[in-house]
């Protein structure tokens, strides 16, 4: 059987793919922003002096990390309304991805926290900084610098996971590509172009993060 490539049909709907890409990126940015806050809180809790908070952080991480993202997304979109919480598909997906990324980021930040030398923390305490001041002015910046490379990995992973939103009909890139595929039957062309867009976006994200890494002093 011959299959001759015709990209024309895909280019005709290219604007749909681009808007899908923008929606996916937007969802990922919102989710990762919330997830970063969750991850920071849970990471500091998990290495902190309060046993209850350590347990809460450990429970959160193991609960979320042991659920497939797709299940979490379906749970948020279909089960929450039954419990009286109604979110639109964007909100429920962003919320699910935020929770999910938060669990992974907790581990990334926790590893970064463990790598902060104890002596440096003592030096901060010795000049009279309180525990909170030490965490904000000394521990957090060192931790972020140490965590940056794996942070980049997680960010890229979360952006790619925005494709899961297609399962609840969020018109992001994968959803739009599937529609074009069904409408035009240009299977190879559609998915090749969609893949190209994912790769291009990830390369740009990676470059931005590397740029950020270079701005931090080396230590």
């Amino acid at each position: 059987m011959e299959y001759s490539l015709h990209f024309g049909a895909v280019w005709a709907s290219f604007d749909k793919l681009l808007s899908g890409l923008a929606i996916g990126l937007g969802l990922a940015v919102v989710a990762v922003a919330i997830g970063t806050v969750l991850g920071l809180l849970a990471a500091f809790a998990s290495v902190g002096p309060y046993r209850l908070l350590r347990w809460a952080a450990a429970f959160y991480v193991s609960l979320i990390r042991n659920l497939p993202l797709l299940v979490l997304v379906l749970l948020a979109y279909f089960a929450l309304p039954q419990a009286g919480i109604t979110l639109d598909k964007y909100q429920s997906f962003a919320g699910a991805l935020a929770l999910y990324s938060g669990a992974y980021l907790t581990e990334v930040f926790r590893a970064g926290l463990i790598s902060v030398p104890k002596g440096v923390i003592e030096a901060a305490r010795a000049i009279g900084l309180t525990r909170l001041q030490t965490n904000v002015s000394v521990v957090a910046p060192i931790m972020l610098r140490n965590a940056l490379p794996s942070l980049g990995n997680t960010f890229i992973g979360m952006f790619k996971d925005s494709s899961i939103a297609a399962a609840i009909a969020v018109p992001e890139l994968t959803f739009e590509a599937r529609k074009i595929n069904v409408d035009t039957f240009r299977v190879i062309e559609t998915w090749t172009v969609a893949s190209g867009l994912y790769i291009a976006a990830c390369v740009v994200i990676a470059a931005l993060l590397r740029g950020l890494e270079r701005r931090f002093p080396k230590f």
Binding site: P117, V120, L129, Q133, P217, K218, F219
Partner: protein, 258 residues
């Protein structure tokens, strides 16, 4: 200024244990303003732990430490002894400066940034004033030209001098120096010792843990020999190094003299 009723630092019956191991078994030590006291002794004798208790980096189980008349670290009332709040401990820690064996500079801040952090966050000074004080202190330790270098761009000796500037800039009542040359390459030791000698000559009150016997002899007004968690001998350098009374001290000096 030897007001015996009110020494700058008064340690009474200090006891500290790590689990079942008793590290300090009742230490008494007084320092008056302007004193330079060196603590010598073999590793494991409790020297460093003593310094860390004074700076409240370690908790201790018995005894009392008073700094300039204020009992630090604990509050006792109705027969119970309670560790002070983080806020109180931080305020009291700011009254002493500490220089560590391994420098412990903040790696994400420049030399000036290291000196400025405490001035800004603890003493709440405006940025320009903190910067001026930092530059002044960096100049005094001979690092005026390195103010905007990061620790990773400095030699060990330079890093330790920044750490000294960081401690002194806070204008502490007492400076604790914990084996400040032990992690340095031999050729860098002297520049740090000269810096310490300089601040001693300027009248700072110093409590020094050191393995540099010649330095302890040159710079100290008093030398304390610690042995198994106790102070075994306390006297002027001439007595400690010239005519030690304690047999273990004599033995220690024989083995460390090279």
């Amino acid at each position: 200024m030897s007001d015996k009723q009110h020494p700058l630092l008064a340690i009474r019956g200090l006891k500290k244990q790590f689990g079942a191991t008793e590290v300090l078994k009742g230490v008494d030590l007084d320092l008056n303003k302007g004193d330079v006291v060196s603590i010598i002794g073999s590793s494991g004798s409790g020297k460093t732990t003593l310094l860390r208790c004074v700076n409240l980096l370690e908790e201790y189980q018995g005894g009392e430490i008073a700094l300039d008349g204020e009992t630090i670290g604990y509050r006792s009332g109705d027969g119970r002894r309670r560790r002070l709040s983080d806020r109180e401990l931080s305020r009291q820690r700011a009254m002493t400066g500490m220089v560590f064996q391994s420098f412990n500079l903040f790696p994400h801040l420049t030399a000036a940034g290291n000196v400025m952090l405490g001035l800004r966050k603890v003493l709440k000074l405006p940025k320009a004033e903190a910067r001026a004080i930092a530059e002044n202190w960096l100049a005094r330790v001979g690092l005026a030209a390195r103010a905007d270098h990061y620790p990773s761009q400095l030699s060990g000796g330079q890093q330790q001098r920044v750490a000294i500037a960081r401690a002194l800039a806070m204008n502490p009542k007492l400076v604790l120096l914990d084996e400040v040359t032990s992690a340095l390459d031999p050729e860098l030791v002297q520049e740090v010792l000269n810096t310490v000698k300089g601040i001693a000559d300027d009248g700072a009150t110093l409590l020094i843990v050191t393995h540099e016997m010649r330095f302890a002899r040159d710079v100290s007004s008093r030398v304390v020999f610690m042995e198994q968690g106790r102070i075994a001998e306390d006297g002027p350098p001439a007595q400690i190094f010239g005519a030690p009374k304690n047999a273990r001290l004599a033995e220690f000096l024989r083995t460390t003299r090279h």
